[in-house]
Structures are given as structure tokens and as C-alpha cells.
Amino acid sequence: MTTQQSGFAATDVLATGSDEPDTVERAEKSPDDLQPYGDLGLKDDEYAKIREILGRRPTASELAMYSIMWSEHCSYKSSKVHLKQFSEKAPKNVRMLAGIGENAGVVQISEKIAVTFKVESHNHPSYVEPYQGAATGVGGIVRDILAMGARPVAVMDPLRFGAADHPDTARVLPGVVAGIGGYGNCLGLPNIGGEIVFDPCYQGNPLVNALSIGVLPVERLQKKEATGTGNIVVLLGARTGRDGIGGVSVLASATFDEEAEQRRPSVQVGDPFMEKLLIESCLELYDAGLVSGIQDLGGAGLTCALTETAAAAGTGMRVWLERVPLREASMSPTEILASESQERMLLIVTPENLDAVLKVAEKWGVWATAIGEVTAAAEDGTPGRLHITWNDHVVVDVPPGSLADDGPVYNRPFREPNDLMLLQADRAETLPRPSTGDELRATLLRMAGSPNLCDKTWVTEQYDRYVLGNTILAQPEDSGVLRIDEETGLGVALSVDGNGRFARLDPYEGARLALAESYRNVAVTGAEPVAITDCLNFGSPEDPTVMWQFSEACRGLADGCLELGTPVTGGNVSFYNQTGAAAIHPTPVVGVLGVFDDVSRRIPMGFPPPAKAGGDLLFLLGE
């Protein structure tokens, strides 16, 4: 089973038996060729549906694209039916400029200014290669924020590890922390908070979630739609290499086990310096009004960016794949389409603006290449087609919407875990309570010795919290607080929280509690909570008891949001967090955004530091 990691590399050749890529023409002529769809994670009926859509067998490149876009990670096929509640139950909110369905939710916080924020997971890659996995997790979420038109201004990192004294934790934790710091520090983004929780259930499956927040003038909001027939499709940023091929569908959409070893080549290496240049060039392009549409390249690389931008507009797209700048000349078209090379963005620009765009890219020293153009929808309104050639071979000809929007949707069976009643029956009231001085002492010592209550500065000192000069509160405060506008004092507070143990006992209440905790943390700083993002970390959706946990958690979060009047603006689902049959505790992580009209009125959680002390009065409330 060498399939997963070499699968994409091999499919071209597999299908054709020669160095020539598999083309549409060939696919039409050889309908009976066996295709390795199973190895790419596609089910029989899914493969059948692809053939039905295309009216022929897919080419090798098309097959790879469907397998990526219809993977759990990209299609949300198991979660969609449950996530719907976030929109359906969402309280009306006038602040929301962009919500679920966009790269990140955008919330207006003053007449002129909006912020965008989102949390995402990079769990599996961070277990395989902690430093790069965590680093590229930060890089990925930052590009989501950038794609909305915002300047990223901070990051946060909710983390879960196995037992603190387990030898593998000694490999994973320092690597993850160094990776988050290494990437975020080098990008110049202050880290303003996060979580570190130890629990044996995360031993073979640590959780590395990363949140980023960005700021934009309201009118700079960007769209991903590839509109405008004849507009140019530009690939901006790093050259494309063989990294991370198969990462999304493989690492994030299957149970994680010993085979991880073989999947190692799909590791991506981040280049935060390139990302910093990418940020500056995109912001300069936005401000000059040179961009008609933009989409980040994340987990699913070009495949996702091309299909989503075209599908969103209903247009078609013509792409010359050989124009993509490569790190390795020998890459096949399928590999180019599947590569997860980091630090890339896809731009749609008008032909008149192309030169100006290339100039800005050159100024910042990033590659920019016109790789295609937007084509028209049919006269009758039928969306256009995505037509990709590689050295004159037609390797892809598909309706983009079939990849981006019409993936399979599953209403997976769910049922309550068998052990739930037992777990719930074992109530806190029945736990032994310290009644003597000695017992009290022992309890206290146990708590003081618990890794979950330990001082986190070993971690947080590795993060820059000062850069950009707007950090008002950061670790160890309940929330991170940022100044957004120096003139008006406009500011925001952000907190991320989750408790897998609560959620294991009752996923509905656990999700509500995560929301409530995060909400409280924001409220106590003096900010008004206004919006939510969430990262739902669960085991395999194919396990009905996990699916039950998931559906309960979604219901809980949606209900909680309705009660509090704060909408979910976006987030991320991470399934398959399990080792063998053992799933992690269901771990919904909730981020809450709050707003200050005057951030100088924020309330820190303790006494002011010695250097600023003076004059505060202390009150004792109650008797």
C-alpha cells in the first residue's frame, strides 16, 4: 500500500502506461481503463458519480482533483448537514459582511473598519512533523485572512497534547511550539493567546489549531469570484514543488495510524519570509485596486483555488498548466494540480492591470505568473467549464461546480456511545472530598503538580507578543486584546476555549460551555462579544458514536449562539482524529471576538505590573 503518497504521482503513468499524460481524448477512447480511485479515497458510488458528471471516465488529473475536492477535508461531506444550523439558527446580525462559505467571516466593527478571524486545524501534519506541521498551519490560516482583503494582525493557538510525561510529547510539543513561534514571529504577528491542554486521549493525535485575525477598511473586502470573461488568472508567491501531494485527502480525511510513516513525503515546509512578502504584495495590490478576485492556496492547492474561484462566479477557466513556475521540472500535471506548496495565492486581474500587478510582485520579490484566463458561461446561463492543458494536452475538462459545490453529502448514522450513561452516572458528587488537613494538602499538591495548571511561560515566551505595537493584553490574560485604530481607540478582544472532557461527558453542553467560557473571557475584559469562530475536532465520522458527538456539539453551539445573539462566522471541521479505534475526546474549540469602542478602558485580570502600579482601589464583593 504505497498508494496514498505516491498515488498522485503514479496516476498519470498508471493510466497511460507512458510518459504522456492522460488526456480527455484518451479517456474517451479507453473507457474501461482501471483507475485507482479507491486508493485515492473515493468510494465506488462516488467514482460512478464522477463518470456520470463527465459522461466518460475521468482523466488521471481529473480523478485526483475529484478525490481532493470530495475529500472530507474539502467537501465537508459528513458535517455539512449539521453545520447548516449555524446559518439557519444564526441570530440576525448587521455587522456581518461575509460569513460561512467565505475564506473567513468578516465583521464590521466601526463605520470604516472590519475585522476577519478564523480558527483552523493542522492536527495530522503536526503529528507527523511537529515543527513544519504547526508552522504551515499558521501560514495557512493567515492566508485565509489575507484573502479577505485584511492585514493579518495577530494569531492564537489552541493546542492539545498527550500526557505531559510521555516521551512522544517531548517530541511533539517543543516542535509544535517552535513551529508556531518560528512562523508567526517571522511574519511579524503577535501571538495573543491560546490553550495548552494535556490529556492521554491526544497522545497519538495532538490538536494544533491556529487562529488568525486581520483588519481591513470596509471597502477593501475582497471576493473570490473569478468574474469577467477575459480576465487573467495569476499565480502569486512561491514556486510549486512536490510538497504535500495528497496531504489533504490523505492526512486529514482518513484515520491516522502506523501508515503515517509512509505518508511522510507529503510533509510541507513553510517559508514565512515568502509569506511576509506575499502579505505585503497582496495588500499593496488591494490598495491599488488591482485585484478583481483572490483565493488563497491551502490544503488542496491549485485544484481548490481554480475550481472554487470559477464555481463561485459561474464562469469557466482556461489554464495552461505548463506556465506554473515549478521547483522541479519533472512534475506531472496531476502533481502540479495536487501540490500543496505553501505561500501561494491565486489572483483574478483585468488584462489592463496585469502589468501593474507584475510590477508590485517584482517590487516585493515574489513570483507572479499569468497561468490562465476566465472564460464565459454558456449563453443559456450554464456555468463555464474548467479547461486545463499541459503542453497542448487537454488534461482536465470539467464543470468547476461539480468539484467545488456538488460533492457528495452524507447523512451519516449516529448513536449515543454505549458508555455514556456510565460516564454520566459517575458524578462529581460521588468523588472523594478532602476532609482532613492532610487530604487537603495532598489535593492541593496534586493540583499544583498538574500539567494542565502549570505556568505556560515556557511556551508563551517563544512567541512575540509585542510586534506591531498594538497588543494591549496577551498571555496570561483571559483574552488577547488589540488596539485596531490608534486615532479612535477602537479595539478588539479575542479568546479561544474548549474542554474535551466536558464534551466527552455531554457534547451538547460541552460545546455550549466552550462558547460560554470564551464569551466570558471576552466579556470580562470589558469588550462586547459580537461573533464566533469554531474548530470542531472529532474522531472518525464513520463511527456512529463520533457522529453523535459531532451532531450534539453542533446543535449545542448553534443553540448557544442563538441564546447569546452572536453568530458563527466561520470555522473548520477536523475529523479522523483517532488512533486505531480510539477517538479523541470530542473537542469543539470556540473563538469569540469582542469589540471595544475605547480600548483604553480594557480591564486586565490582575493587579497592574509594578512599573504601572499606583492608586487602584480594591473592593471585596459579598460578605
Partner: protein, 83 residues
Amino acid sequence: MARVVVDVMLKPEILDPQGQAVANALPRLGVTDVSSVRIGRRIEIDFTGEADLDRAREIADKLLANPVIEDYEVRLVEGAEVA
């Protein structure tokens, strides 16, 4: 004293941002005939007694190289090269 040198380089397919940054800076120094720069680590291990290549390989594998993204080579250094 005996010395073993371990050369650790990123696997060829792995992005090497360091090498790339250096390569991009070279034209400013007037150098235009360089096609690629790759940057890795050179590790010198001095043994108190005899050099132990197997030992060195074990150290390289466990501590010096990250097998997920790096390859390494271990070699004995003869007298002269030892500074």
C-alpha cells in the same frame, strides 16, 4: 582523537528557503552563474578514542537529522582534515 563528520541536507524535493534566499542575493554580489544553493548542516563529532561510524550513524539518526525531511551522510575524517 578521531573525528566523524555528518552532513545533513534537506531531501531534494523539500523546499529550502534558506538556500533560495542566498541564491536570490547573489546577483547583488555580481554573481550570476549560480543555478542553485542548498544549505544544510555539517556536524563534527569527536570521539575520545577510536571513531565509531556505527555509533555516529545512530546519533545522526536519532538526534542530528530529521528523517522526515532530511538525508544524512556519515564519514570518517582522516588526520589532516581535523583542524
